[in-house]
Amino acid sequence: MKRFAALVNHLGASTKTNDKLQALQDYFAVAEDADKVWVIAIFSGRRPKRMVNATQLAVWANELTHLPAWLFEECYHTVGDLAETIALVLPETKTAEMTDAHSLSYYLETFGAMQKSPEEEKKNFILQQWAVMDASERFVFNKLITGGFRIGVSQKVMVNALAKFIKLPAATIAHRISGNWDPATTTFEQILSEEHAASDNSKPYPFCLAYALEAEPSSLGDVNDWQAEWKWDGIRGQIIKRNDELFVWSRGEELITDKFPEYAALQEVLPAGVVLDGEILPYDGTMPMPFSVLQTRIGRKLVGKKQLTEAPVAFFAYDLLEYEGQDFRQQPLALRRKKLEEIVETVNHPVLKLSIVLKAGNWNEWTELRRQSREVGSEGLMLKRKNSEYHSGRKVGDWWKWKIDPLTIDAVLIYAQKGHGRRSNLYTDYTFAVKDGDKLVSFAKAYSGLTDKEFAQVDNFVKRNSIEKFGPVRTVKPELVFELAFEGIAASNRHKSGVALRFPRMLRWRQDKKAEDINTIDDLKKMLEVYGK
């Protein structure tokens, strides 16, 4: 476990991708196979089973520290991470009492095995482990217990390190470790074996991802080399039909077959041995609906009749990754597209749509089409090179997303809260308001878009200009104006303002504007009328 804690520290400290890559490679070179399996699982977003929840963990820690609950809260809001807060407030372990008793895999398997154990047993186990660990091991241990593990290393870096270590192409590794496998019952050899991968009917392919197009589209060369489609805002997904079984995966590699019962009908009609890449979109039979419609059902374990009627979905197919049981990804896009069209037309089912290919003779026409994106409910255009293969992950050159400019509005900062992760102990989470007559009405929260330096300046302002404190929230003198950008707007009865924004963030700090210059609630309502349908 010490070795894994050291790895996590190293990865957290390092700012250079090459450093992280080397650290992981070094780890793979010396770690036990069973530990490697867990590292692959954790760094590819496979959460370990949760043995106790974070609140419970905090209660046990407080029994040891005798800190008042409010003080623990205060610490938590300063640190911005519960597992770390607990690790820091626990009584220090004397150097002589520290041991490296168990391996990473032992802990993770024990967490799984003890899931149903009586609470007292869990507690005893955890307290015993805390007693022999230093703060950095406790942090990692707590993180693992509570099941969430994001530490600033991407799956891509882990895959590359593994690829270097076992000398296989990264794309092959990405595919082998995808899909449905349980780190508790899978060996390191199995994960990496071709036969094992082939025996799993549900196994998805790594998604091909696009970078944003910053340059002029004409820099991409001959317009005839490119295929353009609308860029849809739903859930990217894969539909797999193998051996008469149907599987639906999200881009986050979550198996979501049961959440979208609409697609079950495809099990009958899809030909055997196909994998489709596409977008899960709320669709009323004529046009895609806003993402907010989909949001009403994605969090739910069970999808009821109400959701099925109010937020029906279709699958807008982009690409064909497997055809007649064969990996089809190395074929050029033009051919994949042709076969995809044949399949969708033959299937001829209302839940399976083609993401249409847009026709244009030159870049200007596509530029013009892109301007109409919002009218069809899309976010812009996707440009794909016709002769390109289907890559694993993000790769520069063959796929580009060419999004429309976001909607914007000027608003004033009224509440602030301390951030998480590397924003620990800094006021970086803000609530914004627009004018409603001579009052202010809050309508959006945003956490991103400023530079570190700007965040430090705003933090300083918040500390000097807070009016009241409600728990972790400070009300701030309404003075700082920001231009907020967002991707969409929808009516909402959960928000006082009556609107919900899609992905709001700070586009720029308008130091040239005063609070009286901001937009009004009527401006928002007008936007809702124009874009909220």
């Binding site: 957290g12 300063t78 820091l88 590397r422 102990n425 404190k469």
Partner: protein
């Protein structure tokens, strides 16, 4: 009227007609220590510890400075003033004020562990204690200095074996002297940024005997810098000045490094939670040792610390000050900057 009032210029003792660490120019200022958020320009007269004077002269220019040793009382209008070691940096002192049998102590910044340089913190009995609480949350507890020094030394040795220059980021006054002491045990020569070099020169002239540092200049060659240790102030981090150190690893020495997120956003390779402030336990032990009936908390987590004291039977209230921004002011201080 309380013996010390909290005014918009700072802590004011009316019967003695003086301020302690005022943030605006006044007639007479008693200075706890030479950091720029506590020692400000423009007052007509100053009282400080003998060892603070050279630093104040460098920072604030030539002014009338009255100096005293620790535990050497002076009187103003019948008010007894004395300074007592605060352990924060060279010359740093708590200010004890006594009038008609009532005793107040203003802590300035302090740490309870003896760093071997600043003088050992002295608990002073008083009726009212004004304490800093920069690290006034129980998430802050420091490892003993010897252990942190060992961490720093191991890091340097590790860098040396990987052919890297170790760049240690530390404030010119206080942290730099500690880091220098630690690094000198494993590195034969130590290079310094102009700001650190100036501080060391000044201390040398004042009779201090720290390990020598060599100033990094345009003439300093790659060969000389190979595997070396360099000490630089926070203002140098991330500037083109750092580019000459290839390859290097950066280590930041600050109590804030205790928390991962803080460490990560500083984009350094290593963080050492080496602080010149008291940690949670240090603050609590200091407060208890004063025996004070009333404790005012300033700069830091003052509201949390104050509430905790109240709940534990020590009457307390928070006071708003303009202390605790030395990081920003140090970056702005022109005499600390080197041209390149």
């Amino acid at each position: 009227m309380p013996l010390i009032e909290f005014t918009d210029k700072g802590f004011y003792c009316r019967p003695g007609d003086f301020y302690i660490d005022p943030w605006k120019p006044v007639n007479y200022a008693v200075i706890t220590h030479a950091h720029s958020d506590h020692a400000r320009w423009g007052s007509k007269g100053y009282l400080c510890h003998t060892k603070s004077k050279p630093m104040l002269q460098l920072r604030l220019g030539d002014n009338p400075y009255d100096t005293v040793e620790w535990n050497e009382p002076v009187y103003r209008n019948g008010v007894k003033i004395s300074l007592h070691p605060a352990g924060h940096m060279i010359g740093s002192s708590q200010v004890r004020v006594e009038y008609k049998g009532e005793v107040w102590v203003a802590s300035g910044d302090y740490k309870t562990e003896d760093d071997g340089i600043s003088g050992a913190f002295e608990p002073v009995k008083c009726n009212v204690f004004i304490t800093e609480c920069t690290f006034g949350l129980p998430i802050y507890h420091w490892k003993p200095q010897v252990e942190i020094y060992k961490d720093i030394q191991e890091w340097i040795v590790d860098n040396q074996s990987n052919g890297k220059i170790s760049v240690l980021i530390a404030y010119s006054y206080g942290k730099a002297q500690r880091v220098l002491t630690a690094a000198a045990e494993v590195a034969p020569v130590i290079y310094a940024h102009g700001a650190i070099y100036n501080a060391q020169e000044m201390l040398k002239n004042a009779g201090w005997n720290f390990p020598e540092v060599i100033r990094v200049t345009k003439e300093t060659t790659k060969e000389e810098l190979k595997n070396s240790v360099v000490i630089a102030p926070p203002s140098a981090d991330g500037t083109p000045w750092m580019k000459r150190f290839q390859p290097h690893s950066t280590g930041l020495c600050s109590g804030w490094m205790q928390v991962r997120g803080n460490f990560r956003r500083n984009n350094v390779d290593a963080g050492f939670a080496l602080s010149d402030h008291a940690d949670w336990k240090g603050l609590l032990s200091a407060v208890k040792a004063t025996g004070a009936e009333k404790v005012y908390t300033t700069h830091g987590f003052q509201s949390a610390f104050s509430r905790y004291l109240n709940e534990n039977g020590i009457e307390s209230a928070e006071v708003k000050t303009e202390f605790g921004i030395e990081e920003e002011t140090e970056k702005e201080a022109p005499e600390n900057m080197e041209a390149s």
